[in-house]
């Protein structure tokens, strides 16, 4: 019998196998702080289109995009970013196609068998956030982890019937083995994927 904990453990194991960083956070607010910390630690995003940017700024601000947080979390994130001198985006991602530092999203579901995130990316802002960020951080409620993709057929079917729709399965960072079959992470998508699992609230467990 699969319990939420065993599913979560399997998810973590499988996601780590494909080089995702998997952490547990108690609350969404903790996830926001995690994103700030990662952003602080990382080097500035490398502009992929230097020519299209303004003349290089001596001390450019890093960028975090989080277009789909609820109002409370958005406010909290904005405040955190301001405090840390980080630029915060909730829209207009097309202006930043040269790359951003961090993209923060909520995943709709997790698939334990393969360590996969399922993300309705019909919003273009969400889609771009998960594509052009150097580090994609996704928050995944433990209650949303399913054993395998078959267990999501109804939910996915619902997405596909509410057209137009763009649903993404994301497993690990973007990767290639096209040169001499040597694995390299970060081709056209994120260089890193971090998954923050928020456990079930105690009272929901029996």
């Amino acid at each position: 019998m699969q319990t939420p904990d065993s599913l979560s453990a399997l998810f973590k194991q499988k996601a780590e196998l494909v080089s995702a960083v998997v952490k547990e956070v108690k609350t969404p607010h903790e996830a926001l702080q995690y994103a700030i910390d990662v952003c602080e630690r990382k080097e500035n995003c490398l502009s992929l289109m230097p020519a299209l940017n303004e003349p290089p700024d001596a001390n450019p601000a890093k960028i975090i995009a989080a277009p789909a947080l609820d109002a409370t979390l958005t406010d909290a994130m904005r405040a955190l970013c301001e405090k840390n001198n980080i630029r915060f985006l909730t829209s207009g991602l097309r202006e930043h196609l040269a790359g951003i530092d961090i993209g923060l999203t909520f995943a709709d579901y997790g698939i334990a068998e393969t360590g996969t995130l399922v993300l309705d990316s019909s919003s273009e802002e969400v889609r771009l956030t998960t594509m052009i960020s150097e580090i994609h951080i996704a928050i995944l409620p433990q209650s949303k982890i399913r054993p395998d993709a078959y267990h999501l057929e109804d939910e996915l079917g619902k997405n596909m019937r509410s057209y137009p729709n763009y649903t993404a399965f994301i497993t690990g960072a973007s990767r290639t083995a096209d040169i001499e079959r040597v694995l390299a992470l970060g081709v056209h998508g994120p260089l890193e994927l971090h998954i923050l699992i928020i456990p079930e609230p105690e009272k929901e467990r029996t």
């Binding site: 273009e124 993709a149 993404a168 040169i179 056209h188």
Partner: protein, 719 residues
Amino acid sequence: MQEAKNLKGYKKEVDDALQNEFLRTAMDNFAVAYRTGRANAFAGMDVEALVADIAAAKDAAIARMDELFEEFKTNAEKIGLKVHRAETASQANAIIARIAKENGVNKIIKSKSMTAEETLLNHHLEADGYEVTETDLGEWIIQLRGEGPSHMVMPAIHLSRFQVADLFTDVTGEKQDSEIERLVKVARRELRKAYVEADMGVSGANFALADTATIGLTTNEGNARLVTTLPRVHVALVGLEKLVPTLHDALLVNRALPRNATGQGITSYVTWITGPNVCGSAPDNKKEMHIVFLDNGRRDLARDPVFAQVLRCVRCGACANVCPVYRMVGGHRYGHIYIGAIGLIITYFFHGRDKAENLVQNCINCGACKAVCAAGIDLPRLIKEVHARIQDESGHPLTSLLMAKVLRSRKLFHTLLRSAYLAQKPVTDESHYLRHLPFVFAQEHNFRRLPAIAEKPFRDRWPLLKTAVSDPEMRVALFSGCVQDFVYPEQLEAAVKLLSDRNIALEFPTDQSCCGLPLEMMGEKKTTREVARQNINAMSSADCDYIITLCASCASHLKNGYAKLFEHDETMTDRVRRFTSKVHPFSAFLHDILKVKADEFKPVPVKTTYHAPCHLCRGLKISEAPHALIELAGLDFRPAQEEETCCGFGGSYSSKFPNISSQILSKKLDDFKKTEAEILVTECPGCIMQLRGGVKKRGDNLKVRHIAEVLAESKRQTE
């Protein structure tokens, strides 16, 4: 891309590829790594059941291809997604060019699509003045080099990091380091601009779901996501065979596709797109989206009773990954556009006879592709079928006709073999190897020494060996196959010795002839069937419980091949079923039916390794019995790492493509060397001919024996 004008030209290309050291090493490493990667990815899963489910789901979808297309189209139109169906490759290209024109497109970016390779879309669009950029790293590399893919999943597998570094140096005008991590970053940077500037994105699709008009795309790099998101127009070019009824079918296929392709549980991205999504670069904020379904022979194929199953293919590339010939020559010489076993077949249907006729002969019939196919396609058989069809259309070559004529009459065939014994006399040396050629029907065998025809074939020795058993426990008929009968009768004598004192009535029906496999390999289908019929009659005359054979190829052909040959002939159904159910390869008969025991043998702890004949381990799925027998006989068993890799014989294959055959052989001998064995045991006279000939030529210190011989030697004599 294989475009040689004739077989001779093709052989020349193949021989050149064999000289490419980098390619050879890359392919070898890949072949070995792939095996482990795949096994790990499928660990704990019932692969056979999964493959059977995929085959059934795809068959059902193929049978409803037109219907699913209409369903997809109807659902698509409801959501503003425009659907086209192109009858031919050039029509598909024209439709896509028209879409580009109508939308005022200048620049186009593409994510990987084998279907677009099939139609040569880039050539067409570039000729129309569009700037087209491939975004998959491997595809981009080969596009910059002006080449076609050498693998369906890893299109640039034939290139080294140094070649890529040189190429990128040219492209960027800056010296590039050969470190792979950095080269990948060059592509990341160079291509981002192309995404942003493009007006149109062209993708393929792995799945087209009829019930919701959704397409599914699997990628690792994430390029297809950008291609389908950034430009204002998106066109997906999709083969009609990608249509499936529902998401469930796609999820089913996707359980096997990435595991079989690259040993991944799933690709980094699987993207499901339903209808034109929001698009910030489009004037009305809405993507212009089109799906072009490609027919190009698929609808005819779907109705073909023999070949419809090739449409099950999910393009995982596994059939190339395990193919011993692909491993030697690489993809550019092992396909026109589609590569590997499936490429040998569909080139004929998608690109025509002239592109396929040489390729299709370059299959050794080892069955490795079939054993890993994600969709359970009977690839080796269909390769032979294409070969037969091509010969029926364009005429049979003289050698093939001659062979058919000879084998049609057992008496003529055997008379010829007997006179070959006389003819060879002046050229054999004292060790009974042909000193030089020709060996019966072949010319280019120089990489190994070939054995001589025996002075007295087994059929002439049999009357003296035959013993009467008054009240037998079982009746067994021995099928010799021509090589053992005429070249290695001592192997059959060893079998007779092993079966004596067991209360078995052993028969050797003398009307039996060649099993017919060599004929089938040469595309002589009609005679293959005639010979099969003769053998069924000959063996039935013995009225036996079991038919055993010491030749793995004969066993697999008698059992599986005959069943296929007569599958549409109802008058033969019962007879064939009775016949095939009696056929057993020798080791399986000893181990599983007679259940021989260790105390029947005197242990001789000599280091012994084993070669698994293709037709035994894959053709008949027998791997355990020979291992067990080697150990029961008290030999010191040292398994080889590549035990199940083909030895390169393949009957007439080794004379048609001697250089490939000899390379495969020398890899095998290197692998055996690592085991330090003194004896190499196997269970097929063809393999023995190949392996012994190679050992002799190289001067290796290894005795190659048939399993019957080593067992007979260690058998305790009953007093």
